[in-house]
């Protein structure tokens, strides 16, 4: 393998931020026409390295070589000129602009003082046709799905003739079917000679597409290996530097009495006739494709959204839930889907975030009891293994996993019977995931019932006692532990589609 094979080469990259060495003499080689996966826990340095490649940060030491030439990348625009395209974890686009406007954003071809719209239209239409994407150039991006927009980002990269495409957790918000589409696209890009750097936490994905894998830990690249020569367990081991015996620490619990029963719950056009039950000590999973109505159903039960008909029984007693307060009083708690959007209050302290849902316990008799608050926060955060310098730090300075643990601590203070967790491990590294599973087990051992929504099937299979599968707003089936398999779940998740297709034929 000659040097000319390496489209990108990084040698001895070091980057220090005040107080932390984010990258320590990192070496990295990207071969032409390959997919190179980067793994590592959050904070291991992957994103910093990518930002250096993309020109967001400047390295303190070390060289960047593109096609064997030493280059210095000043900013993302400069990176673009070097054929580098970055597809961000959070997609960047203007929702109220059209596809073509977004595609050309900041790069509009000029015609005199104005923009050459005609050229844009012709070129865009052609490009869309060439890439086989079924969109109109004047469609507003707001009306497209995350995966559609991701395809467009890739299209943008392709239209810029990018040789190096960086994808930072591109599948964190798209369905399995869309993942297949994405992977097909990646294969296509490879065939054209583009090279891809792919960052992901998801082991099954990594092994589907990787040619090479580099594992990061604590700002160092620990090992680079051919994907064929390494196993999932080894990857995880290198990442956390300790043997993870079992990714899913399932414990046996005694199934207690019925805590929650939902009958025929319906919100017109969103979910229909949803019935299920949950007992104490159980962890019940909800599987389904994105848009199947899982989150919406749970939000309705938690009082965040309304429902049109149906009944909810808590501890065998029927309740009406119109708002979150009522559901908290009825013993329901919910970790919402998007931690940053609806979970934490970033600028407030860990203490204030922890007591947010149980203010009535610390403000009694019309005044605050600071010592009581300190006590509750300490108890609950310790029980949830929150790692923080002190409880007065703003929660936004904590890692994702620790933020999630604070939210667990918040709900622990409410002493709920039923805990609904919507994608509780999304965007959290492997070590912290395991801790989250342990916390859920702890809840279950205390005789509480847990509902877990997740798009990661291995996680549901590893953690749950039963799994309900939803499809297009209906519950399409329920599986018990002995029936668990990815295939069985997927079949139920796409059940309605199939029935409709059969009817159509």
């Amino acid at each position: 393998m000659g040097a000319e094979n390496n489209v990108l080469e990084l040698s001895n990259i070091t980057k220090t931020f005040p107080g932390v060495k984010a990258l320590d003499k990192v070496n990295f080689k990207l071969k032409k026409g390959t997919v190179h996966v980067l793994c590592g826990e959050n904070g291991a340095g992957k994103s910093t390295l990518m930002k250096i490649i993309d020109g967001v940060y400047k390295q303190d030491e070390g060289d960047i070589l593109i096609n064997g030439q030493k280059v210095s990348i000043k900013d993302p625009l400069d990176a673009k000129k070097h054929g580098i395209a970055m597809i961000f974890q959070e997609l960047s686009y203007v929702p109220d602009m059209t596809l073509e406007e977004n595609l050309w954003l900041g790069n509009w071809p000029r015609k005199g003082p104005g923009i050459d719209w005609k050229y844009i239209r012709t070129y865009t239409t052609e490009l869309l046709k060439k890439e086989g994407l079924p969109y109109q150039p004047d469609v507003k991006l707001r009306s497209l799905s995350v995966s559609d927009i991701q395809m467009l980002e890739i299209l943008k990269a392709v239209s810029n003739d990018a040789q190096i495409i960086i994808m930072d957790e591109p599948t964190s918000a798209i369905t399995n079917k869309e993942v297949d589409k994405l992977f097909a696209k990646i294969e296509e890009l490879k065939a054209r000679g583009a090279s891809i750097i792919y960052i992901s936490h998801k082991m099954d994905e990594i092994f589907r597409i990787a040619d090479e894998i580099t594992i990061f830990r604590d700002g160092r690249s620990i090992i680079t290996a051919n994907a064929k020569d390494i196993t999932v367990d080894q990857v995880v081991e290198y990442m956390v530097n300790r043997k993870i015996e079992n990714q899913y620490p399932k414990v046996e619990t005694k199934v207690g009495k019925e805590l929650l029963r939902v009958e025929h719950l319906t919100r017109n056009g969103v979910f229909q006739d949803v019935s299920f039950h949950l007992h104490g000590g159980e962890i019940v999973g909800f599987a389904g494709l994105m848009g199947a109505g899982r989150t919406e159903t749970m939000r309705a039960i938690f009082g965040l959204d309304p429902y049109d008909s149906g009944s909810i029984f808590i501890n065998q007693k029927q309740v009406t839930i119109k708002n979150v307060r009522q559901s908290i009083q009825n013993g329901i708690a919910m970790l919402t889907e998007d931690r940053r959007r609806s979970g934490i209050i970033p600028i407030l302290s860990v203490r204030e975030n922890t007591t947010l849902a149980s203010l009535e316990r610390i403000f009694t008799g019309g005044r605050l009891h600071p010592r009581e608050e300190q006590k509750l926060v300490a108890e609950s955060c310790e029980k949830m293994h929150v790692k923080t310098a002190n409880y007065e730090t703003p929660i936004q300075t904590l890692s994702g996993g620790n933020q999630q643990k604070v939210i667990f601590a918040k709900w622990l203070l409410c002493n709920p019977d039923v805990l609904i967790a919507d994608e509780p491990t999304r965007g959290i590294d492997v070590g912290a995931k395991r801790e989250i599973y342990n916390l859920m087990n702890q809840f279950a051992l205390d005789g509480k019932g847990i509902i877990m929504i997740s798009s990661e099937l291995p996680e549901l299979i590893g953690v749950c006692d039963r799994i309900y599968v939803m499809c297009e707003g209906h519950i399409s089936g329920m599986l018990t532990r002995d029936q668990f398999s990815q295939e069985a779940i997927m079949q139920l998740a796409i059940a309605v589609h199939r029935n409709e297709e059969e009817l159509a034929q």
Binding site: G19, V20, A22, G43, N323, S342, I344, G366, P394
Partner: protein
């Protein structure tokens, strides 16, 4: 190494938290050097009296901004409720009634502000701009644009003193203590920070965000009502065109005092200190007979500096977190 890092960060935190007090002290020292009349009991009490009305309104604005709202109608509401208060005092001679009228009217208008913002999801800026115009128009309409004079003992609360302390200052201090208590020691106060910090997360934690914002408008309503009486009393009459732009003075004090316009951050004491920073600067410029137009330019510059500082210090925080 780690130890030093933490200490360093804490030190910086303390500096940034109390920087406004430092600025106040620097300004006072500079004023003392610049003009020998500055550091006299009389002058200082005078500034306190002048700033009292601003501070009372500013404390209300602060609560609103912390929970992510805003009020632009305060100046007009002072005029409208103040004029009616003066009229009812002239008709009955009851100071109690005068206060009640001012507070009730101000409460009502701010109730409307609250309804528009919470129920109809109108942006606070637009909603309160609308009531600003309505209230000013109403004040001018009921008085035919004429000032109401000969208000008798109505002037006592604005111009009188309790011992050496001007009565408006007494009002201001009591209100400050009440607002500080509400913000830091009640469930509502804690909720305002949560709602301003992230309304969606607050809602998902069982906090009735609409109610929190509405209560902030009602508190603000009471404060503006009291401010209206003190203002009319100090200026010796019911001025339907008076208190113009008072909401801006109040907002300036709030922002200079460290309340973040993006919500979730701010303290009552900071607001008071911010008001005095602005007040002392105006005072020294008056003492030095600096042109009033230039004074206005300086005030504008102060707002710009305060806002840039707020954004800069926050972006530095995110940078540090961002690694």
């Amino acid at each position: 190494m780690n130890q030093i890092e933490t200490k360093n960060v804490n030190f910086r935190k303390i500096i940034s938290k109390y920087s406004i007090i430092l600025i106040l002290i620097i300004i006072m020292v500079m004023c003392t050097i610049a003009d020998s009349n500055f550091l006299t009991v009389n002058n200082l009490l005078n500034v306190c009296r002048q700033q009292s009305v601003t501070i009372i309104v500013a404390l209300g604005e602060m609560a609103l901004i912390i929970c992510g709202a805003l009020d632009l109608s305060a100046g007009s509401v002072i005029a409208f409720s103040g004029v009616l208060s003066v009229m009812s005092y002239k008709a009955t001679g009851s100071m109690l009634l005068a206060f009640a009228v001012a507070i009730l009217i101000s409460l009502f208008i701010n109730f409307l502000n609250g309804i528009m913002v919470t129920k109809f999801k109108a942006p606070a800026f637009i909603a309160t701009l609308a009531t600003q115009m309505v209230a000013r128009g109403a004040a001018l309409y009921i008085t035919n644009g004429q000032n109401v004079y000969e208000i008798g003992d109505y002037t006592v609360v604005g111009q009188g003193s309790l011992g050496p302390v001007p009565i408006p200052v007494v009002f201001m201090l009591v209100i400050f203590l009440i607002v500080a208590y509400l913000m830091h020691h009640t469930r509502w106060g804690r909720s305002t920070y949560a709602v301003g910090g992230n309304a969606e997360a607050a809602n998902a934690s069982g906090i009735n965000t609409n109610m929190v914002i509405m209560k902030a408008y009602l508190l603000h309503g009471v404060l503006v009502g009291i401010a209206a009486v003190l203002f009319m009393s100090r200026v010796n009459g019911g001025l339907p065109a008076g208190a113009d732009g008072y909401e801006m003075d109040a907002l300036t004090a709030t922002i200079v005092g460290g309340t973040s316009f993006t919500g979730g951050i701010g303290t009552p004491w900071g607001t008071v200190v911010g008001a005095f920073v602005v007040g002392f600067l105006s005072n020294i410029m008056n003492l030095m007979t600096i042109d009033s137009y230039i004074q206005q330019m300086v005030r504008g510059a102060i707002i710009a500096v305060a806002v840039i500082w707020d954004i800069y210090s926050k972006s530095r925080n995110t940078y540090r977190k961002g690694k």
